[in-house]
């Protein structure tokens, strides 16, 4: 299998920032439009998979090693739980709306409490999972 196909590599280099930007847009606008952590994270992960499909697995290993992906996955989930536990300090049940996360006016970006923050953690975790899945299931043939 020959890598560094000219057309594919030029298109990938051109498209990758847009794919990542679109994925981040989906993640952050969870409270305003359909989307959220899962779908946005999948798009960002698919961008990284495109990178490894075009340039070979070693490029992806350099940018996103196994240790990084493990730390990111655990970190995302732990951020979720810590944000939820911070409600305990105010004497309220797990994952309650807190005064420190402003509720804002509906329709603007900085509104809706900590929904966006949780979904950023989930989005990062899902992207890392998609990359790790591709790495372990299909990556061996690409060397």
């Amino acid at each position: 299998m020959k890598f560094r196909d000219t057309i594919v590599s030029i298109i990938t280099r051109f498209m990758l920032p847009f794919i990542t930007l679109f994925g981040l847009y989906l993640i952050v606008h969870v409270h305003l439009s359909p989307g959220g952590g899962f779908s946005g994270g999948t798009v960002v992960g698919a961008g990284f998979v495109l990178l490894s499909l075009t340039y070979g697995i070693s490029m992806q290993e350099r940018k996103f090693s196994h240790r990084t992906s493990t730390l990111i996955e655990s970190g995302g989930a732990l951020i979720y739980i810590i944000v939820g536990i911070s409600a305990f300090i105010y004497g309220q049940p797990f994952l309650s709306n807190l005064p420190i996360f402003p509720a804002g006016t509906p329709g603007r970006l900085f509104s809706g409490g900590f929904i966006a923050l949780l979904n950023i953690a989930i989005g990062v975790k899902v992207a890392s999972t998609i990359v790790a899945l591709f790495d372990s299931l299909g990556g061996e043939d690409l060397h």
Partner: protein, 123 residues
Amino acid sequence: MIDIVVHPNIYYFASIVLFLIGFYILLTHPNLIKKVIGLNVMDSAIFFFFVAVGFVSDGGSPIVEAGSEALTVNPVPSGLMLTGIVVSVSVTAFALAIIIKVYQHYGTINVEEIYVVRSEREC
């Protein structure tokens, strides 16, 4: 214009038909990967069912301004199905990983041939 009157519950009928098709694929095809496809069709039928539960005819999209009283589609089942889709993807990924291991150990992914290999080993 020919006006075809469709039964109001058509989405539920379609989802049950899809569920049964997926179940049939899962039961009858001997190839393991086709069974995974059948499982996916079954799960897609359930997602379709849930989203149809939330549908309100003559309803607008559920993006509301503060204080408006318009009739909107129920967004709760669609939100539940986000979680459901992730669960289905996880099960599919896990099943495919195990199928790779089955192929490495048995040399085939046909269920009937796997049974033959297992019964030969027992003797």
